[in-house]
């Protein structure tokens, strides 16, 4: 256990430069915007006095490293600036984000559940029927769903289930639980292709191992060999990468939330982009980067927990 704790601490320390570099990139985005940085931070038709106030507040007249220092100081205190976009002007970006955070987390959570509850059984089935019809069908299915852009799949779902069949609401959260089904399905199915492929190859690897052959030769029923012994080993590498999936889901959420007008961080961000609301966009990117870093840490820790070789190596 002690080695696990020291491994986690080591990983946490290694995450610090990643956080610093990520915040640096987010900070530098301001300088990638076309024109004077102050124009990206000020509402349209701002007066000269307002522009000066914004320069003062963001420290745009300071040398770059001071600006970055101030930026770090502000974000570490939860101050992500104020929105300049239409409809949300002068509202703190952090409160805009926290209001929507639970919606995005819920969407990602249900999406993950759909992805894994589809991908794991399909992957097992494909591995056990390797090169037979079922395997072929499943592999073609994963190829096609992986190639399907999520926004298009979302539009097709919308067309089928809400326009033609009228079963589920098309947009927003007005339909209660029904509203989340289509966005979560869109998000989950895209990732399920990857989960299926991983589960299949992991299972194929395990069932060729010596200890599985040995169990079979002892006459233990196939069902027991697969579900009691092989599955336990095969499923671990698939589960440990859940953390890495978070990055994929965060990106997917931006697209899917936009398709279904699901009021999460992703929709906030795309609305921010269309409204030229730079502080909101910057804040959203920062939160998403944070998600990705946490996800990677989770994967590292989980991996070390199930496989002692990782933390001792």
């Amino acid at each position: 256990m002690a080695d696990l704790i020291s491994y986690v601490i080591r990983k946490l320390l290694l995450a610090i430069p990643v956080v610093i570099l990520a915040t640096l990139i987010v900070f530098l985005l301001l300088y990638l915007t076309p024109g004077d940085p102050v124009s990206a931070l000020s509402p349209p038709h701002a007066t000269a006095a307002q522009l000066d106030a914004i320069r003062e507040k963001w420290g745009l007249l300071d040398p770059p490293y001071v600006q970055y220092g101030k930026f770090l100081w502000r974000i570490s205190h939860g101050d992500l600036g104020t929105s300049i976009g239409f409809g949300t002007r002068d509202i703190a970006v952090s409160s805009l984000i926290t209001e929507r955070l639970s919606n995005t987390l819920m969407l990602m959570g249900i999406g993950l559940a759909i992805s894994y509850s589809m991908g794991i059984p399909l992957g097992i089935l494909a591995a056990l029927r390797q090169n037979k019809a079922a395997d072929r069908v499943i592999m073609v299915f994963t190829l096609v769903t992986y190639a399907m852009p999520s926004f298009w799949l979302g539009l097709l779902f919308l067309l089928l289930f809400s326009v033609y069949l009228g079963w589920l609401p098309a947009e927003g959260t007005t339909g209660g639980f029904g509203s989340i089904i289509l966005p979560a399905m869109t998000l989950g199915i895209g990732n399920a292709a990857l989960t299926t492929r991983m589960m299949r190859s992991s299972m194929l690897e395990v069932i060729r191992m010596d200890h599985i052959t040995q169990l079979r030769s002892r006459g233990i029923p196939e069902r027991e060999v697969i579900f009691k012994h092989a599955l336990k080993n095969a499923i671990l590498p698939v589960i440990t990468v859940i953390g890495l999936d978070i990055g994929w889901f965060v990106g997917g959420a931006v697209v899917v939330e936009t398709v279904f007008s699901w009021p999460g961080i992703g929709l906030l961000m795309t609305r921010g982009i269309l409204n030229a609301d730079f502080p909101v966009v910057q804040g959203c990117i920062l939160v998403m980067a944070f998600f990705v870093i946490i996800g990677n840490l989770m994967a590292d820790v989980f991996y070390a927990y199930v496989d002692p070789r990782v933390r001792l190596g």
Partner: protein
């Protein structure tokens, strides 16, 4: 005497033989084609890509209507013989826009991947070959860019740069290079310890020569695999960015941009969105099939590289 017409297969084989005889880089390419021919995924993927590229190149001479022509008398028509994929809200012919869209989407995908290949190869070679502090710095950057999904990075860059064709390519290129750099760096690290490198250094070869004659040809196979999958990913990223409104802008109407415009009319005129989506699906499928197939025939160890 009648001259025998050569079958395409024969021609391919002859070319392969003459390439092989010349050795070096050409030999590697010839071998890749040789082995690829026998893999169904490679064949299907290549066929799809060749068809798409031909359509894209031939778009100006094909008997299709002008993609920019607006017909106020033919708005939101459902698919018919005159308009195979129907018309959009401004009376554009969707079929001809899908064909012309192939030019934009394939162009963005290929150019973005070539740029990121260039960035990744240069950084990977430098890091892997020289080692030391340079390697430490570059590896840090590789790890950082590898940690974040390319789509999120590209979204961040594109939203700051603003929507335009060149900005999208730039955003994808600077987000995608880490995979190439990792591959090349790893290869350079192993190759530089090999005896033939030592031998050629003893013969007086300088660093640049060793990198280009020994290290790079050794990475060629995985780079081609990665580049093919990369084009598929780049097309996905471009279409997603365009769908969100930070991608390509008219007159360069890519498939993603068509969906961005079409989604408002999804209820009354679904064909505006459905057909460009099918085009994206087919293009991504083609490049993925080629990449996956090549990976299987060239280097099975690379399985699971992607994720």
């Amino acid at each position: 005497m009648k001259r025998m017409r050569m079958s395409p297969r024969r021609m391919l084989n002859d070319t392969l033989l003459s390439w092989k005889a010349r050795g070096g880089f050409r030999q590697t390419v010839a071998e890749i084609i040789e082995r690829g021919k026998r893999n169904a995924m490679v064949v299907i993927g290549t066929t799809i890509i060749v068809i798409l590229i031909s359509l894209a190149i031939l778009a100006p001479v094909l008997p299709i209507s002008d993609p920019a022509m607006q017909n106020p008398n033919a708005e939101e028509l459902s698919p018919t013989w005159n308009h195979w994929f129907g018309t959009d809200n401004l009376g554009h012919d969707v079929f001809s826009r899908v064909i012309w869209g192939a030019r934009i989407s394939l162009f963005v995908g290929t150019v973005a991947v070539l740029f990121s290949l260039l960035i990744g190869m240069t950084l990977g070679l430098t890091a892997g070959y020289f080692g030391g502090k340079i390697d430490y710095l570059i590896s840090g950057a590789i790890d950082l860019f590898w940690t974040f999904p390319a789509f999120l990075l590209a979204l961040a860059f594109a939203s700051a740069l603003g929507p335009s064709l060149s900005n999208v390519m730039l955003a994808i290129a600077v987000s995608y290079w880490a995979g190439f750099a990792r591959l090349v760096r790893g290869q350079a690290l192993t190759v530089r310890e090999r005896q033939f490198v030592e031998a050629s250094r003893a013969l007086g070869a300088n660093n640049r020569r060793i990198m280009f004659t020994h290290v790079l040809p050794n990475c060629l196979a995985p780079l081609i695999v990665w580049a093919s999958i990369g084009v598929a990913d780049a097309i996905t990223i471009e279409s997603s960015l365009s769908f969100l409104g930070v991608g390509t802008q008219p007159p360069a109407a890519s498939w993603g941009y068509m969906l961005y415009r079409g989604k408002t009319f999804i209820e009354e005129a679904p064909w505006i969105s459905v057909f460009p989506g099918i085009a994206i699906l087919i293009a991504i499928l083609g490049f993925n099939l080629l990449g996956d197939g090549l990976r299987d025939v060239l280097d099975p160890r690379l399985k699971g590289l992607r994720r």
